[in-house]
């Protein structure tokens, strides 16, 4: 039972970290390998605000979300936009975003060194006893934040003109252009929004794990699995997939052995993709382009 609770709480946090990744792929056919290092970048931003300006971790989101949005816009304009006219856009995006990841990692190492850091606040190490379990505040708050952020993302995608444009681009880039949607602007905003959401994931990550510039590599493989399982382009799918995968991993570790956790993790992915190649909630038309 403990493992299930941990899996649900942790899975939501991973879904938050992966939401931006699935949004970007859904809209732009871009596999953003830099997502892991962007999570770490967000953690560092939160650290700077907390350490030097004494801003609370959650309050710091007021600053880190817009900052990460601008980072996303900059990456899209400088690197991703140039892939538009390329034939193998998706494949090239892996190389380009990997290069971006290495650049960011290098810059973070120069500024912060390879020393490990951890975000601290009074609620990071405390928990609340409920029904015989101690539920850590940070995971409960992270779960709540994940649900809230994903709900906001849902509202943007399904209740705003911008969201309509993004969804139109997912269905058909050509069609969206033909009806007057500015694809470039839509892509930039989608990438920026996807990166902005990462601010929240990065803050929770930094509060629950030690991190340094190299921590992004461990994250990206998990995030890619989650978004593929959830269905590329599906925000809700990312949440469900995150929870499912982490519950499976945690239960396996507790009941069997931690060594088999990763195996079960990927075994579930393979089984689901065989049965449903577009993932749990992926739409075939999103990949028809």
């Amino acid at each position: 039972m403990r493992a299930v609770i941990d899996g649900v709480l942790t899975g939501a946090v991973y879904a938050l970290m992966g939401a931006g990744l699935t949004l970007v792929f859904g809209v732009m056919n871009i596999i953003n390998i830099a997502q892991g290092i962007l999570v770490v970048l967000a953690a560092y931003m939160t650290y700077v605000l907390n350490r030097y300006l004494h801003i609370d971790l959650f309050v710091g989101l007021v600053f880190t979300i817009p900052m990460m949005f601008l980072v996303g816009v900059a990456i899209e304009r400088l690197f991703i936009r140039r892939l538009q006219s390329q034939g193998n856009r998706t494949g090239l995006s892996i190389l380009v975003t990997y290069a971006v990841a290495i650049i960011l990692e290098g810059l973070l190492t120069i500024v912060f060194s390879a020393d490990y850091l951890h975000l601290h606040a009074w609620y990071v190490d405390r928990s609340i006893p409920i029904l015989g379990f101690y539920l850590p505040y940070i995971y409960l708050m992270g779960f709540g934040l994940a649900v809230a952020m994903l709900a906001v993302l849902y509202v943007i995608l399904y209740r705003t003109r911008l969201g309509m444009g993004i969804r139109a681009s997912v269905q058909s880039r050509l069609g969206a252009e033909l009806v007057g949607i500015d694809i470039n602007r839509t892509s930039t905003l989608a990438f920026g929004i996807g990166t902005a959401v990462t601010a929240a994931g990065g803050m929770i990550f930094g509060a629950t794990s030690v991190f340094n510039p190299n921590s992004g590599y461990d994250l990206i493989s998990i995030l890619l699995v989650i978004i593929v399982l959830g269905g590329l382009g599906s925000i809700g799918g990312a949440l469900i997939a995150g929870v499912v995968m982490l519950v499976i991993e945690d239960v396996t570790a507790v009941l069997w052995s931690p060594i088999w956790s990763s195996t079960m993790f990927f075994a579930v992915l393979v089984v689901v993709l065989i049965a449903h190649p577009t993932g749990l909630f992926g739409k075939p038309e999103a990949r028809a382009q």
């Binding site: 941990d6 490990y116 601290h120 030690v210 190299n214 590599y217 945690d250 239960v251 931690p258 060594i259």
Partner: protein
């Protein structure tokens, strides 16, 4: 005729030998990125401090030393490529070891192929020395001995206060896993029942289930084969879940000075233990000067100094003593000397190599965090842990609650 004689004399006489003043290149592969980057950086600091020190004194054999450092990104395959390049392309005359048992083991084979001496300080797991190689020398405490003092101390307690149960969790790593095996056997022989014993992959990202398993076992004491990442994750989970083991020891991580404090918070360091053979105040030759040099170059306080720093420094010291004794940088002569010398001195303490290259003169100390200081303790004749003089602190047992 006289001219001919002069010509013959000129040809026959040796030209005047010019002293070789070119720098001695020392090749090192370090984990400057990847999972071991923090330790790699600390090891680099140790090597650099030694190089600065020896160059200030005129170098080796009157020649400055130059460190040729390349990054292996914490990868066992990259470290092999690096040493091949350092030796065959960069023509380094000497090489020093990388960080971690896994990388040292991988690199030692290729270094042996070239006949180089491989002096290292951060690869003391037993698998390094089970390869039958003749060229590997570890200046640090052998890994299998690290937790023995702790296990013997627990076993020496009267039955009324001795913990009844123990939990073991370790990375699947050739440095940490053997330590726990040895400690577990000692404790089980003394009647401490094992209630949790798990090994997890090094690439584990979520330590929650493992921590949950330890907490669920309600073990009296916890022995963890860890580095900074996992021990700090465990401590955070233990604090969140109000789980207070009577003793908690990590094979590595709590020895990382300020990084450990930063990772877990000062109030969560209290009572946590870690094995090691060095501390900033140790009275070994050259240690105080090394600590002073570190503070001057890198700032901070003595407590900030990672135990990887003296490991790197000691490697340099051993090489210098070997080079001075053999009057050369010939690796075959250095290897022969290191196998025959009775005792060497380093900032980590005395060094004497057995036939496999392990340091049999190193003493295993147990360190415990008390009020923000990492204090050294050693076993006395009754297997009680007593403070290393001049300190007079008592070991904190049971560990204070979080």
């Amino acid at each position: 005729m006289a001219a001919l004689a002069l010509m013959v004399a000129a040809c026959g006489s040796s030209p005047a030998k010019s002293a070789n003043t070119s720098p001695i290149k020392i090749g090192i592969s370090l984990s400057l990125s990847g999972d071991r980057a923090a330790d790699g950086k600390a090891l680099q600091q140790g090597y650099q401090l030694w190089a600065d020190h020896v160059n200030a004194q005129g170098g080796l054999l009157g020649r400055k030393v130059e460190l040729d450092i390349v990054s292996d990104a914490s990868s066992p395959s990259q470290v092999v490529t690096n040493y091949q390049k350092l030796i065959s392309v960069d023509n380094c005359q000497l090489v020093f070891g990388p960080f971690s048992t896994a990388l040292t083991k991988a690199a030692s084979q290729v270094v042996a192929r070239y006949g180089y001496a491989f002096v290292e300080g951060a690869g003391s797991g037993p698998s390094v020395f089970q390869q039958g190689l003749h060229n590997v020398f570890s200046v640090s405490l052998p890994a299998v001995n690290e937790l023995q003092s702790f296990a013997k101390w627990i076993g020496s307690m009267p039955a009324s206060s001795r913990p009844a149960t123990a939990a073991y969790a370790t990375e699947d790593d050739p440095f940490t896993a053997p330590q726990l095996d040895v400690a577990r056997k000692i404790l089980e022989a003394d009647g401490v029942k094992t209630v949790y014993n798990k090994t997890y992959p090094i690439e584990t990202a979520d330590y929650g289930p493992i921590a949950a398993g330890i907490i669920g076992s309600h073990a009296d004491i916890v022995l963890a084969g860890t580095t900074l990442i996992d021990i700090s994750a465990f401590i955070q989970q233990f604090a969140q879940q109000n789980y207070n083991p009577r003793a908690l020891i990590g094979s590595a991580g709590p020895d990382q000075g300020s990084q450990f404090i930063q990772a877990v918070g000062l109030n969560h360091t209290e009572g946590v233990m870690v094995p090691n053979s060095w501390y900033p105040g140790a009275n070994f030759p050259g240690n105080k000067a090394m600590v002073a040099a570190f503070l001057k170059k890198y700032g901070g306080s003595a407590a900030d100094i990672s135990s990887d720093v003296p490991q790197g420094y000691s490697v340099g010291e051993v090489i210098k003593q070997a080079v001075d004794a053999t009057h050369s940088v010939n690796n075959a002569k250095i290897i022969k000397y290191l196998h025959s010398v009775s005792l060497l001195q380093t900032v980590q303490g005395p060094v004497r190599f057995d036939s496999t290259g392990q340091n049999v003169a190193a003493e295993a100390l147990i360190f415990q965090w008390q009020k923000g200081q990492l204090l050294p303790f050693k076993l006395d004749s009754s297997n009680h842990l007593v403070a290393v003089p001049p300190a007079t602190s008592k070991i904190e047992y049971p560990k204070p609650n979080w």
